[in-house]
């Protein structure tokens, strides 16, 4: 698997990226509805229905299907334990996206956690 390592890492990055785009669309679709969590079945059904007619939700769905397809290609090339650990790089993409696209505020604890994940992926890939 060694010679294919870069290709596999690139594909994992690609599936993580698709996952991040999927999450961004989903978050944006949900945010646009202004839902307050309540145990009220009529409200929950109404919420889900309103969500289903949002084009952004379907974009999010398309990206999650692409992500699954690439993931299956990865699994045929790489060990599960490697692929699963390396896939945690979506934490990095989501961190960057929420910081720079959604403009969320970041604590030092989150940067520390993201840094540890980066180090962990490097260790897992080197072995």
């Amino acid at each position: 698997m060694r010679e294919g390592l870069l290709i596999v890492l690139f594909m994992i990055a690609l599936t993580s990226l698709c996952d991040t785009v999927n999450q961004l669309f989903l978050k944006s679709a949900i945010d646009s509805l202004n839902f307050s969590p309540q145990f009220n079945f009529i409200k929950i059904f109404k919420f889900i229905f309103q969500l289903l007619i949002k084009p952004r939700l379907w974009l999010s769905f398309v990206f999650s299907v692409i992500s699954l397809c690439i993931w299956l290609l990865v699994l045929s090339k790489a060990d599960l334990n490697f692929a699963f650990s390396a896939d945690s790089m979506h934490y990095i993409f989501i961190a960057l996206a929420s910081r720079f696209v959604l403009k969320e505020k970041f604590s030092y604890l989150r940067w520390l956690g993201t840094g540890l994940i980066v180090m962990g992926i490097v260790f897992v890939s080197l072995s």
Binding site: K77, A95, S107, L109, R110, L112, G113, I117, S127
Partner: protein, 138 residues
């Protein structure tokens, strides 16, 4: 919004979702293993491969488990905070490698275990930071 502490029932649900989460990855890997090799340079061979994988019962078992895990997670998250749920749920970062070694006969070096532990710590820190944000009144 105030949320209750982690009860035994919630903890059991989280452990079940950990095990099922691990099962998802096992099923997907099994589905991907069953089929022929494809070449990265050849896009049409990738499509042939995917077509074969999508007819594998393992893949559909995996997708079904995804739905079950989603329902369990929605239940858990309506009871406790995400910053509490994620560290307990990231047990799967250990469980998946263990399952890979036992059932898929993969080899994991010491260096890789260190990497896995670093990722686990990182995930826990990231999820704890969402609690910090809530505590600041945001």
């Amino acid at each position: 919004m105030f949320k209750k502490k982690v009860t035994l029932k919630i903890l059991l649900l989280l452990i079940v979702s950990d095990i099922l989460e691990t099962a998802i990855h096992f099923f997907f890997k099994k589905g991907a293993l069953a089929e022929s090799e494809f070449s990265v340079a050849d896009f049409s061979s990738a499509l042939v491969f995917l077509k074969a994988v999508f007819s594998s019962p393992f893949l559909w078992a995996g997708l079904l488990t995804v739905i079950v895990v989603f329902i369990i997670w929605s239940t858990v998250l309506s009871r406790i905070d995400l910053s509490v749920a994620v560290p307990i749920a990231s047990f799967s970062y250990i469980l998946v490698p263990v399952v890979s070694v036992i059932f898929l006969h993969e080899h994991i070096s010491v260096l890789r275990w260190i990497g896995i532990l670093l990722i686990l710590m990182g995930v826990i820190f990231v999820s704890l930071s969402s609690k910090e944000r809530t505590a600041q009144g945001k």
